[in-house]
């Protein structure tokens, strides 16, 4: 197990900020959760504490960005994506302000704290805002790579990060590029698409499916939810079905994004595995994943059922 992605993020941000004094970290009493204590000691002049005021922190970040700064607003995803959504829409996206919004403790990272602290609608909301880039990295390497890339690109970005330590998904031979999906393995029968911290489970489920069903499974990672790599998603129509796995409500997230592309341009059965439309169960992130079938076993058994259903339909058809 490597480190949490927030740590990979803060290490990268510190290195970037040491080289560029215009890079600022803004926190809403959240420097600890964002792993920014080291940043605060190393570059105290580049850490702006904004207190528990999510509307103001985002508006302020827009003003800083309009003055040549590159502000990284590091605030819990649950609050950043909801409390300050209008500032994100108007002050950042509509105004074209170069603000980087880092939603920390994203998804069900704060599982046991209840739905107030979950961000399971953030991708749905963020991807509907014109001009906003939306990023969900899976492992430390990808977090570091995408953090650098969003720092150097011009324009507002929302990046969701989790809280727990995560295993590695990519070797150094597989760098991530903003806006480009990654094919982690190729296969012709079934495509699994995922983003973020479900990816280790998705990969393991793919191996289980290959062993159990003898299916050749393609695994695609979409770390950039917007702009969406439509090409790699449409290519999934070569396979007989697509399953999208996400740490998000089944409504409006990556599953909806993929279904929208596929149903318009190359219809293929799509199954979306996410958090159902209900207040989620209490527990750790891994317990919640297990509860909703978003861990390897759960993904495997739900896909096996989906696959058998498809086979039956195929025989009938």
């Amino acid at each position: 197990m490597a480190e949490p992605n927030r740590k990979a993020f803060s290490d990268t941000l510190l290195a970037l900020a040491e080289a560029n004094p215009d890079i600022l970290a803004l926190t809403s009493d959240s420097r600890g959760s964002a792993s920014l204590n080291q940043f605060a000691s190393a570059l105290p002049r580049q850490l702006i504490e904004a207190g528990i005021a999510e509307q103001n922190i985002v508006g302020m970040a827009a003003g800083l960005a309009k003055s040549g700064k590159v502000p990284f607003v590091c605030s819990p995803a649950a609050f950043l994506s909801m409390r300050s959504i209008e500032q994100i829409k108007v002050d950042c996206a509509y105004s074209g302000a170069n603000v980087k919004l880092i939603g920390i403790s994203g998804g069900v990272s704060y599982g046991a704290l209840g739905a107030t602290h979950h961000s399971l609608q953030d991708l749905a909301v963020m991807r509907s805002i014109p001009g906003l880039t939306v990023v969900v990295p899976s492992d430390n390497q990808q977090t570091a790579e995408l953090t650098s890339q969003i720092a150097y690109m011009e324009g507002p970005v929302y990046m969701r990060l989790g809280r727990q330590a995560v295993p590695s998904v990519h070797g150094p031979h597989m760098p991530s590029q903003l806006g480009r999906g990654l094919m982690l393995q190729d296969g012709q029968d079934l495509t699994l698409i995922g983003a973020g911290e479900v990816m280790p489970g998705v990969l393991e489920a793919a191996h289980m499916l290959e062993d159990g069903l003898g299916a050749a499974v393609r695994v695609v990672e979409i770390h950039t939810i917007k702009p969406l790599d439509e090409e790699i998603i449409m290519a999934a129509a070569e396979t007989r079905a697509v399953v999208v796995v996400e740490e998000h409500s089944v409504h409006g997230g990556l599953g909806s994004a993929c279904a929208s592309v596929l149903s318009q341009f190359c219809p293929v059965p799509v199954c979306i595995l996410g958090i159902p439309d209900e207040p989620p169960v209490t527990g750790s992130q891994s317990e919640i994943f297990r509860h909703y079938g978003l861990d390897a076993e759960g993904i495997h058994s739900r896909i096996a059922a989906f696959w058998q259903q498809l086979q039956r339909q195929r025989r009938r058809g």
Binding site: I48, A53, N56, G59, A61, A62, Q87, V90
Partner: protein
């Protein structure tokens, strides 16, 4: 930041200069009100009441107080402005055109199909840095600008014009806290205190008073002025107060300049009929100010 404050001994001596400057500013404000009337009458839309109440404040800022021109904006050498009450954009657009940010003829396109002069400011309009119109946002953005200037040690000042109705927005008070917390003496917020909002008197809708005590309690220096008196406006707006952010309550009359629009909540965004248009134009042209 205090270096442009006129020393007290010189204030009396500069009174004459102020007066002749006031004549220049009055002429400007009259032209801006005429532009506002034409824009709204042609477009058949807009917010005339707030545009008229804020016209003198904007005139003082853009023609007497701020260092602001296409050049200063490009080089980052000037002062900054955020119109938090974005609906009062007509006067802002007329001033930007007059200051050479875009052709004056473009004012006729206000609210028209595909025009960039839409009903609230946004950065596609030359001279506008940030989109506003959803109330309560502008002060936070201005705080960010002022903080950036302070971090970089630039002697830039940041001005934000807010309405009195939008003081009910919670984000205004988040921004007010931050401004004094960061000791942003380079930030000035002006309240267009016209006493009215779309549904009626502010006191009846959501009483913002005591405005100055509220801001003072948040650590701001507060002053109040007659928002239609250029001498009071420019004196208050020129002044900074060490590291304290400044609040200037500008007492204004909604619809100021046209007798039948003054102090009428209905003229927040009512449209003049052809008769009203001509009467308003005549009054503005002959307005003694």
């Amino acid at each position: 930041m205090d270096d442009r404050k006129p020393p007290n001994s010189q204030r009396a001596a500069s009174k004459t200069a102020h007066t002749s400057d006031s004549l220049r500013l009055r002429a400007k404000a009259r032209q801006i009100r005429l532009d506002i009337l034409d824009m709204i009458y042609t477009a058949k839309g807009g917010h005339i009441g707030g545009a008229f109440s804020s016209a003198d404040i904007l005139t003082a800022l853009f023609y007497a107080v701020m260092r602001f021109s296409p050049e200063t904006l490009a080089t980052g050498e000037g002062d900054r402005f955020v119109l938090s009450k974005g609906h009062a954009c007509e006067g802002y657009y007329a001033i930007l055109a007059d200051r050479g940010f875009f052709p004056r003829t473009e004012l006729a396109s206000f609210l028209q199909y595909k025009s960039r002069l839409m009903g609230h400011p946004h950065p596609k309009i030359p001279g506008v840095e940030v989109a506003t119109g959803s109330l309560g946002h502008g002060l936070s953005v201005a705080v960010g600008m002022a903080l950036a200037a302070k971090l970089d040690g630039r002697r830039e000042r940041v001005f934000c014009l807010a309405g009195d109705g939008e003081l009910a927005e919670g984000s205004i008070w988040e921004a007010a806290s931050a401004a004094s917390h960061y000791r942003l003496g380079n930030l000035t917020c002006i309240i267009d205190r016209n006493g009215l909002q779309i549904s009626g008197p502010t006191e009846e809708i959501m009483d913002p008073e005591p405005i100055e005590q509220r801001f003072a309690a948040f650590g701001w220096h507060t002053t109040d002025v007659d928002g239609h008196c250029f001498e009071e406006l420019t004196a208050a707006l020129h002044r900074t107060h060490g590291e304290q952010p400044a609040l200037v309550t500008a007492h204004t009359v909604k619809g100021r300049g046209v007798s039948f629009m003054e102090n009428q909540a209905g003229w927040h965004h009512r449209l003049p009929t052809v008769e009203e248009y001509h009467q308003a134009k005549a009054e503005l042209k002959g307005h003694p100010c």
